[in-house]
Amino acid sequence: MDMIEDDTPATGYVGSGIADRAARALIAYRAGFPTLMGEAVREITPLLWYAVRSQGVGRDRAEDVVQGVWVSFVGGIDTIREPQALLQWLLVAARRAAWASVRASRADAVKQAPVQDSDADRLQALVTVPEVDAQVLHDERDRVLWARFALLPERCQALLRLISLAERPDYQQISAALDMPVGSIGATRGRCLAKLRTLLADDDVRGFS
């Protein structure tokens, strides 16, 4: 998070990472030049999308949540003192908004659940993560992987989802997105992968055992 000592006239940030690009975009945006911010929105929105989806927010609501994060960033742009912190700010805001959205939809679901339902049924309805279409997976192996992955605890799914989307995951970003201490990500990842491999081994699926 330290300022990089540099004399680049435009912004002072010369790093090549996504957080550096976001910092440059923020500085330019404040000065009235929105082009870099447009690029940053294009680059960062997928991260926010998968971070929000990892928290169990449905696709429809996730769109509103992600858009809301960006809009509140514009409204609160003066509260971000350190441009280098923008990416972190967005990820934390996305996680909080996702939690609020999940709480709201669970409260709705409880209100709407018929009273005679057993607690077990009701709980089941609440934890079901909805509405993605696994039919797009044509490979049988991928379908089995997806089905077994869905059996993992939510926390494992969230973490593996984010890690799987990167070849070299940045644990700072994952920590911000999931509110998981950086130091525990490696071990949790190991446990979650081990569970997944056990589930896959039961199926005797070619290639993953």
Binding site: R59, Q67, W70, V71, I163, L165, A166, G190, L193, R197
Partner: protein, 166 residues
């Protein structure tokens, strides 16, 4: 997802080849099964542009679709009326389909001289009200839009509507 997500990698417990294969397959599946929605980035950029306008935001009060009506034997068109209000102004618009997009007939009350802008992600159209507060955009391309109502008197805040669908 692009490479950008990955900078600042940490070396920790190594993964074996099978772990990496699972993660690769999983990542590919996530992107296929749960893609970032088409157009989301453009909608976000549009919302950010609106948020930067120095304007109060009106509240959407009512949205009424009327039955298709046939005018002069033309093809039936669905008209839609939306009402917005703020503490100072009300704005009513009627949207009707025309060739090349949507016609907006609007009315600002109380009347007066206002500059009206219709913002879309692709750009801005401008018109002015007549003394009764009426305005027309004859054909605006479909998509998300927001109206900016700018009073010509000095020291009055501009007003904008929430986005609505043309």
């Amino acid at each position: 997802m692009t490479e950008s997500w990955m900078e600042g990698a940490r070396a920790d417990e190594p993964m074996d080849e099978a772990d990496q294969e699972i993660l690769r397959s999983l990542g590919a599946a996530v992107v296929l099964v749960d893609p970032v929605p088409d157009g989301l980035v453009d909608r976000i950029l549009f919302a950010m542009t609106l948020e930067r306008l120095d304007a109060d935001v009106a509240e959407m009060m009512e949205q009424v679709s009327t039955e298709p009506v046939s005018i002069r034997g033309d093809a039936a068109a669905v008209a839609e009326t939306i009402t917005f209000t703020s503490s100072e102004l009300s704005v009513m618009i009627t949207l009707s389909e025309v060739a090349g997009g949507v016609r907006i007939d609007g009315w600002v009350a109380p009347g007066g001289a206002f500059r009206i802008e219709v913002h879309r992600s692709a750009g801005v159209d401008v018109t002015e009200t007549d003394p009764d507060g009426r305005f027309v955009f004859t054909a605006v391309p479909r998509g998300q839009a927001s109206l900016l109502i700018h009073c010509e008197e000095p020291h009055r805040r501009s007003l904008r509507t929430p986005t609505f669908e043309l």
